[in-house]
């Protein structure tokens, strides 16, 4: 098990919180909430160790487009980068609807 923490600048606030996914094999859970300090913060708890660079790449790409001031907690059970990106997009979508 490994914890990864990353911070990103943000341009706009997030209207509401959203929860998607499940901590099941090859999947992950995303808890996305408005961040109180105008910045974005990500905490990843993952069952697979040694993929810090891959996590940073996926999150860099997500925040290049998302730009919301969100506190995101990810509980991961071996999801592939593609699945991680889909779940993040799904959570972002859920805050807008």
């Amino acid at each position: 098990m490994e914890k990864i923490q990353l911070d990103y600048p943000a341009l706009h606030t997030v209207p509401r919180r959203a929860h998607v996914g499940v901590v099941g094999s090859g999947d992950l859970e995303v808890l996305l909430e408005p961040s109180p300090d105008g910045q974005a913060h990500v905490l990843v708890n993952t069952s697979v160790e040694g993929f810090g660079a891959a996590w940073k790449n996926v999150l860099d790409r997500f925040f290049a487009r998302f730009q919301g001031a969100a506190s995101i907690e990810i509980n991961d059970f071996g999801a592939t980068p593609g699945t991680v990106m889909l779940r993040l997009e799904q959570a972002a979508e859920a805050t807008r609807t």
């Binding site: 098990m1 919180r17 929860h19 499940v22 901590v23 099941g24 094999s25 999947d27 859970e29 808890l31 909430e33 708890n45 993952t46 069952s47 907690e73 509980n75 991961d76 059970f77």
Partner: protein
């Protein structure tokens, strides 16, 4: 294919009906809970953002889920106050840990208190679990015992309705919780038993039971078989609408004349009718334990 021929038209209609079905099995625990309750009435208790998770799994290097794999919601069924507890089978096999077990037991106890104070709450358990979470051992077992006690206490006031939809099924201590329910609804895909087939094969060998033989497993512990021998009350299609309607139907029928767990003599006689020296299969058990013999 000739769509004009009568048999094919019927087949075509079945195909349409199949497409119109909304699979309950494929839903997450949260989606199942919403599907059972009246539309718009879902109000989650101790949801993921409350972050009441297992304190034990991270100590063993396992990532914990924010709701510990149990969704609790209050809402209504045909306008009557209801409580739904659903187990998420994709997280740790739907296993019951200290927190997930306490969530269900606590919610049932509070529902019982509401009933005692003259405010009936209709309890529904959506069971999809391998039983106790081995990493939390005795704490999970203790919570399961509390769930059993809470079901028995609640049954004095309102029927307790259980649903086993599949594909995990319901095993271990939680199979006893299923058996304690006033009405137990199953699909053909459901399985219900104390020890799971994989556990039996691991402990007693493949000669005793081949856990990979799906036809054999379902002929012994599948939903259809459990219904046929009277250990489940209703066999349903894997359709969210049908299951939601059947849950309402079960409450409308009210409490059974005699709860399954109160029929001690009946089940003793059933066990006595089995000769352990003779090989027994699902079909023979159906003949032997014909549901028509239930009081």
């Amino acid at each position: 294919m000739n769509a004009d021929a009568a048999p094919e038209v019927a087949e075509h209609r079945d195909y349409r009906r199949f497409l119109e079905r909304h699979s309950f099995i494929e839903m997450s625990a949260r989606e199942r809970t919403r599907a059972v309750l009246d539309p718009g009435s879902f109000r989650e208790l101790l949801g993921p953002f409350d972050r009441i998770k297992s304190p034990w799994l991270p100590l063993q290097g396992i990532v914990a889920q924010a709701d510990d794999g149990v969704v609790l919601a209050r809402g209504t069924l045909n306008g009557e106050p209801a409580l739904v507890a659903a187990i998420e089978s994709a997280y740790q096999g739907g296993s019951m840990g200290e927190v997930s077990g306490a969530k269900i037991a606590g919610a049932l106890e509070l529902a019982c208190r509401d009933c005692e104070q003259g405010r009936p709450v209709l309890p529904v358990l959506l069971l999809e679990t391998g039983g106790v979470r081995l990493q939390e051992a005795n704490l999970g077992l203790a919570a399961i015992a509390e769930i059993h006690a809470a079901i028995v206490a609640l049954r004095r006031h309102v029927p307790v309705v259980g649903v086993v939809a599949g594909m995990v099924g319901c095993f271990g201590g939680m199979s006893l919780a299923a058996a304690l329910c006033s009405h137990l609804l199953v699909t053909r895909q459901a399985r219900l038993g104390m020890n799971g087939p994989e556990v039996i094969e691991q402990e007693a060998g493949i000669v005793e039971l081949d856990a990979a033989d799906r036809a054999l497993i379902w002929s012994l512990i599948g939903g259809d078989q459990r219904r046929a021998v009277g250990l489940a009350d209703e066999l349903l299609e894997d359709d969210a609408g049908a299951i939601a309607a059947a849950v309402r139907g079960a409450f409308a029928r009210g409490a059974p004349a005699l709860e399954r767990s109160a029929q001690i003599e009946h089940y003793r006689e059933r066990l006595a009718s089995i000769d352990p020296q003779q090989p027994l299969d699902g079909e023979m058990l159906r003949t032997l334990w014909n549901e028509g013999t239930a009081p």
